[in-house]
Structures are given as C-alpha cells and as structure tokens.
C-alpha cells in the first residue's frame, strides 16, 4: 500500500448539501504530495554485520539493482587484523515520477578480525559525525541547501548459525540503539526450517529485551485506520526479527521468472511469504515506514544528540547565574582538548567548593538552632 493510495481514500467527497461548509483544506494532503514529489526524497540506509551474511545480496534484492559490481573481497589472512571501514554508495532511483536518492552505508570488516574489541567505534563515530555536520548546518546562517546525510536506518544482520545473539551482536546494538533506528534481521534464513526459525526469533526477541536493546518500534496504529492495515501491522510486529533471504539471480519457478536460489532439492523464492520474510521487510522499509524511520531519526535520535551537545557546551556557562536563558545558541568553535580539560577541571573544583560551602552553611545553620 503506498501512501498515495491511503490518502486518496481519505478525500471527502463533496456533496452539494455541504458546499457551504466545505472549506477545502481537505486537499492539503494532495498539495503535500505534489510538493514532495517535486522535491524528491532521500534515504540513508546502513547495513552492518559480519561478512558473508548476504548484506550486499539483500540490498540488491531490496532495490532491484546491482550496487556492488566489481567488489573486492579480502582473504582470510588479510582479515586477521582488519579494521572497520565505512563506504558509501549513492544511487538515484525513480519510480512513477517519485525520485529517491538512496545512500547505502556499508561497513566492511565489521566482526572479521580475530580481535574485535570496539569494532563498532568507527560506525558510531560516523553516525555522530553526520549528526554534528547537520547540527552545524542547521545552526548556520544560510540554511537553504542542507544536505541530510544522517543515517535513517541500520539493518543489523544476525547469523543464523548460532543459538541467538552473540556478545559482539549485543555490544554493537547497545552502542547504536540510541543513535540510529536498528532493525534486526536474521540473515541467510534458508538454512533454518520453519520450526527453527520460530525458535530463533523467539530467542532473539527475548535476548533483545533482556539486554535492554531499543530496536526500532513500529508506531502504534491510530484507532481509525482500516482493519486491513491494523492486521498487517500486528503481523509485522509479531514477525520481528525478520528472517530474510536475498538473491542476485533470477530462476524459473512455477512457470514464472522470480528472484530465487536454486538448490538440488528445491527452489527458494525470495518473494514468497511462506519461504521468508523478505516481502514484509521490503514493505515495511520502503512502502510503509520509510518516512516514519526518517521522522524518528529527526525527532528522537537527532534531538537527543543535539540536546546532549548543547548541554555540554552550556555547562560551562551555567556557573554564572546572571546569564539569562535567551542567549542564542551558536555553534561555538570546539575548544581544543587542552583548554577543555582545564575547563573541566576548574568546573569540578568549583562544584566541590560549592558543595563544601553548602555543607558548612548547613552546619552553621544547625549550630544556630
């Protein structure tokens, strides 16, 4: 269901008896629609997970293109002390007049080395950098052409070969859940029978809850949505994490040419709902929740970052009570490390002295009494 169709079904049919009361702002959705089509959309998607889990194949299957031509894969020997890199691929795709600038951020090398301590640090640094850049642009004087490079969604691939989440999965998701929307996926789901899939999903859901990882939650349906939508939404929520299969090849199955994987014992169809959750993922990611992902990124993750940033900057000013709060928050040039350290030290000293003063005052007060 595209947003297009949903809004169309909402247009109030003008009836003659209501002509006088019909103001006409019911066409607002249409206007929004037209403007947004003209402006075009952008979306940044990050894929993370160990190599060999089918990330590139899935991205190709999702967007029905080949983003990873001529990719060089490293040998095992080269990967022993591999560091994580961040690579970006940007493509412009168009469908029915709607333009989408899609950026895929890849993380080759994640989890590949023998020692993976803090292998998620380059990724968190990258996300913070994008936030910081947007923050500066937003606070700048000329705000006409802000490039939004913030990561809107992160697909995290969990290997299906284990019994659930592994320590590196848990650490990665905990480092990222406050910065980006995480959608957990079970990769290469064609190695799991339906029973095993269900068990693994339950396991992963439990562990996500147990470790307090905040993955992306689908927004609650409004009560006036139609039943079909509510049903779909419910199914979607019960299905996480999605067990997906991707394919770069087209095979012939049941008389049709479909994307799938050919095995001696059968053909796995990527778009068959009884084979895997690929269709659900695609619908959710692209067809219904893409904009919500962007909104959550802007309203929640970015605002968190921004508040945190500003707090840090103004904690130095908070000592002076005479400062009123209407100071325009300009992006101060970040002081270098040395002065920052000194400032912090002085800060702490002042705080300590204040506490001591308070204590002494209290004591004096008690003595008086």
């Amino acid at each position: 269901m595209t947003t297009n169709m949903r809004y169309k079904s909402r247009i109030i049919k003008t009836e003659d008896s209501e002509d006088k009361q019909y103001v006409g702002f019911a066409t607002l959705p249409n206007q929004v629609h037209r403007k947004s089509v003209k402006k075009g959309f952008d979306f940044t998607l990050m894929v993370a997970g160990e190599s060999g889990l089918g990330k590139s194949t899935l991205v190709n299957s999702l967007f029905l293109t080949d983003l990873y031509k001529d990719r060089k894969l490293l040998n095992a020997e080269e990967r022993i002390s591999q560091t994580v890199e961040i690579t970006k691929h940007t493509v412009d795709i168009e469908e029915k007049g709607v333009k989408l600038k899609l950026t895929i951020v890849d993380t080759p090398g994640f989890g590949d080395a023998v020692n993976n301590n803090e292998c998620w640090k380059p990724i968190t640094d990258y996300i913070d950098q994008q936030f910081e850049q947007y923050f500066r642009d937003e606070s700048g004087l000329n705000r006409k052409n802000i490039l939004d490079n913030r990561v809107h969604c992160c697909l995290y691939f969990i290997p299906p070969f284990g019994h659930g989440l592994r320590p590196v999965d848990v650490e990665f998701m905990k480092a990222l859940h406050e910065r980006v929307n995480i959608i957990a996926l079970i990769a290469k789901a064609d190695c799991l029978t339906p029973n095993e899939t269900k068990k693994l999903k339950d396991r992963v859901r439990d562990e996500i809850e147990r470790f307090g990882i905040k993955v992306y939650q689908f927004p609650e349906c409004d009560s006036d949505e139609d039943e079909e939508f509510k049903q779909m939404d419910k199914e979607l929520k019960e299905c996480t994490p999605f067990a997906v299969i991707g394919s770069n090849t087209v095979v012939e199955a049941r008389g049709q040419r479909v994307r799938g994987r050919l095995y001696p014992w059968g053909i796995v169809e990527v778009e068959n709902q009884s084979h895997c959750d690929f269709v659900k993922l695609r619908n959710m990611l692209i067809r219904s929740h893409m904009h919500d992902l962007k909104d959550v990124t802007c309203d929640v993750h970015y605002e968190n970052y921004r508040a945190h940033c500003i707090q840090q900057m103004t904690s130095k000013l908070a000592q002076d009570n005479r400062m009123d709060s209407s100071i325009p928050i300009l992006p101060l040039p970040t002081p270098d490390a040395e002065t920052e350290r000194l400032i912090k030290m002085k800060d702490e000293e002042l705080k300590r002295m204040q506490e001591m003063l308070e204590k002494m005052q209290q004591q004096m007060h008690e003595k008086d009494q």
């Binding site: 160990e50 190599s51 060999g52 889990l53 894969l73 040998n75 095992a76 020997e77 990967r79 022993i80 591999q82 590949d112 080395a113 023998v114 020692n115 993976n116 301590n117 292998c119 290997p159 299906p160 070969f161 284990g162 019994h163 659930g164 989440l165 592994r166 320590p167 590196v168 650490e171 290469k188 064609d190 190695c191 029978t193 339906p194 994987r261 050919l262 095995y263 001696p264 014992w265 059968g266 053909i267 796995v268 169809e269 068959n272 009884s274 084979h275």
Partner: protein, 434 residues
C-alpha cells in the same frame, strides 16, 4: 649310493642354512614354501585380538557455537549423544570431552567426542586457540608419561590422544574466517585436520564449488597441512584420491526423519523442498562417513601415533636434554642417556652441597671473628676503666696523705704553741715580780 647322495644333500642344505645364519651381506632370500604352513592366519589373529581388546577413537570438533557439531556427531554415529545447547556468553573457550561405549556387530568402540564450548563467541578471539592446543598437548603428555614409566601397562591404557579434528567452517560462501585460518595453522602440526563446511544446505551448487576452491587455495597459500587420505594402499588408493579432491566436505546433519517416496530418511524439511542427508547430490555426508569411519579410521589412529605423537615426543625429550647421538656421533641408548643424566644430576647435587657447606663455614668464621672482636673491645674497656680507677685511687691516697701531713703538722704546731704558752706566763710573772 642313494643314502650317500641324500647325506651329501643334507650337508649341503646344512651348509646353506648356516651360511644364511651368518649375516654376511644382509641379503634376504625369499624361499618358496613346499606346503601350507599356516602363518597366513596372522592378520586374523591380530584382528581377533584387537576385537577382543576393543577399539578406541577420539574426535575433536572445533567450530562456532550452534554450527552443528553435536547434530553431525549424532548423524554420523546414528545415535543421540546427550548434550545441552551451549550459550554464546562464555568468557573463554573450554573443551568438553565425553566418552561413550558403542557396539556394532561384535566390535566395541570406545568413542570420545571432545567439544569446544564457546569457540568464536568472544569479542577478542586472540587466545581462542590456546585451550585447544593445550588439551591436545596434555593428552600427548599423559601418553608419554605412561610410556616412560617403569611399570607400565600400555595395552590397558585408555588412549585419549586426539585422532581426528573436524574443523567446522561457517557457510559464508566467501572464504575462511580469520579465526579459522589462525586456529588451523596452530593445530595442523599436532593433529589430523579434516575441514568441513557446516550447514551446507544454505549454499547452492555453483557457490559451493567456488567456495571449496577458495578455501583450499587459502589453506595451501598459508601452508596449512590438512589430513590427506592415504593413497599408498592399492585397495583404497583410488577412492581415497578421488575423495581428496572433494575436500572440504559440505555436510548437512539431521536426526529427524522425513518421509520421502515411501521411505523414512534422515532429512531436513523446508517449505521449498527436503534436504536428504544421505543423498550424495544434496551433500557430502556419505563421503565423510565413508572416509572417516568405514575406510580410514585405522589410518587416522596410526598417523596420530606415528607422526603427531612422535613429533611431540621428540620435541619434549629434546627439551629435557636428551639427544640421540653423543658428540662423537655414536648412537646413545636411552639407558646410557639416563645414566649420564643421573651422574650429572648427582655431581650437581654434590657440588651444591659443597657450596652450601662452604658458605656455612664461611659464615661461622665470620661470626666467630666478630665475636672475638667484640670480646677484645670489651676487654680493652675493662682495662681502661681499671686504670682510671687506679688513677683515682692514687690521687685520693695522695690527698689523704697530704691531709694527714697537714694534720700532723698542725698538731705539732699546736703542741708547740701550747707548751710555749705554758712556759710564757711563768716568764711574765717573773718579769712582774722583778
């Protein structure tokens, strides 16, 4: 006449046999038998003896948690070994050996399966290979200790040395993981390794072919020596060499049975089809079973003993200082080496004793000297004090004498004065009277 010829022949034969007894040029002659002697039953005797003794086989399974090690063992041996699912959150790798007694027809097999728990789960996997290497070395060490004992019972000994290591490779489809490469390099000189691609029902045929080639080329380019099935025995040379080309085996394990056609077979049921474990076009399970159990089990045990164990033993003994040849390149026997070592040890001991005694004597001398010194000092002090005392006494004596003299003098003067005064008033009176 005939008896004379027979006697001659006998003497000839005797001469020949005596000649052959003297090892002049070490040439073995092959003689043809005149009839059935019966030593062709030797292999059978060996077999029946080993059957009564029972066989022993130890498998080490190395692979990530959840990759299918226990399931594959269950499938291979067609039974269910009790095992609980391991968790991903172990702090380190530890090995879990379990011994089972299996029997098939009249052959007893003491099977030990060693599992690596927690392998590949930690964030920092630098030390992951150490527990495995330590375990293998410990088993070798135990056997070596038993071998070196004075009273030993090798025929009764439960051999726990690992005969085969099955290394489970995750089916990523790209290449080996870095952890796999590092671990296999550390293990290849200690144990027979057979790499296996686990959960192979997730790789399609074309991907599998590329994957196998990539893995083998990576192993070769990094110098990892995996177990090659032996091709010197003509009975199995052909099948072994063809199997060598199929390494690493892509296996699927399952203990559940699914109805295919009109039979129940071990398989995995998917919505898109059924993967049969024993179907050669689906996976290499049958090949693995043939190679591992039906054909080469004995060779694996032999290789472990003859190659890996010997290497360990040699390194260990060299470490302890044993050599095979002394400086003149004459072969040493172990006894002589023992003797030499013992002598060395004893002389060492004696020398140390001497040293200690020497030290002791020295110390005693030192303390004696100190004491003497102290005594002398004290004595000196005493003398000094005595002298002082004498001095004082003398002075005091002198003073006393002086005082006495004065007193005497004074007394005399007093007497003199008195007598004078007595006689004086008479004189005065006399003067007055005049």
């Amino acid at each position: 006449m005939f008896s004379f010829l027979r006697a001659l022949k006998c003497i000839e034969i005797l001469n020949q046999t005596t000649l052959s007894l003297v090892p002049q040029n070490e040439e073995k002659r092959s003689l043809s038998l005149g009839g059935h002697v019966g030593f062709d039953s030797l292999p059978d005797q060996l077999v029946s003896k080993s059957v009564t003794q029972g066989f022993c086989f130890n498998i080490l399974c190395v692979g990530e948690t959840g990759i299918g090690k226990s399931t594959l063992m269950n499938t291979l041996f067609n039974t269910t070994f009790e095992n609980e699912e391991a968790s991903h959150y172990q702090n380190g790798v530890y090995l879990r050996p379990r011994t089972y007694d299996l029997q098939e027809s009249n052959v007893h097999l003491k099977l030990t399966i060693v599992d690596t728990v927690g392998f590949g789960d930690q964030i920092n996997k630098d030390e992951s290979y150490k527990p495995i290497v330590d375990y293998i070395d410990t088993q070798f060490e135990n056997y070596l200790q038993e071998e070196l004992k004075i009273k030993r019972s090798l025929f009764n000994y439960h051999d726990t040395r690992i005969h085969i290591c099955l290394y489970f490779i995750a089916p990523t489809g790209h290449s080996l993981k870095s952890l796999d490469l590092v671990t296999m390099k550390k293990l290849d000189s200690k144990v027979n390794i057979i790499p296996i691609i686990a959960k192979a029902d997730t790789i399609s045929k074309s991907e599998l072919h590329k994957f196998k080639i990539k893995i083998m080329s990576e192993l070769v380019s990094n110098g990892v020596q995996i177990y090659q099935f032996p091709t010197d025995d003509e009975a199995v040379a052909e099948i072994n060499s063809s199997m060598n080309a199929h390494l690493p085996f892509a296996v699927v394990g399952s203990v559940e049975e699914v109805k295919v056609g009109n039979k129940m077979v071990r398989a995995r049921q998917y919505p898109w089809g059924v993967v049969q474990v024993e179907n050669e076009s689906h996976c290499d399970f049958v090949k693995l079973r043939e190679m591992l159990i039906r054909i080469n089990m004995e060779d694996l045990r032999e290789q472990t003993h003859a190659r890996h164990y010997e290497l360990y033993r040699r390194c260990k003994l060299e470490e302890m200082g044993f050599k095979d040849t002394d400086p003149d390149s004459q072969p040493f026997s172990l006894q002589e080496t023992y003797e030499a070592k013992r002598k060395e040890f004893l002389t060492d001991l004696q020398r140390k004793e001497e040293e200690m005694r020497q030290m002791f004597v020295n110390k005693v001398k030192e303390t004696e000297a100190e004491l003497k010194e102290k005594e002398r000092e004290l004595h000196e002090k005493f003398e000094q004090l005595k002298r002082m005392h004498q001095e004082e006494k003398r002075k005091v004596e002198e003073k006393r004498r002086d005082l006495e003299e004065e007193m005497n003098g004074f007394n005399r003067k007093k007497l003199a004065a008195e007598t004078l005064s007595l006689s004086q008033p008479l004189k005065k009176d006399k003067d007055k009277k005049k």
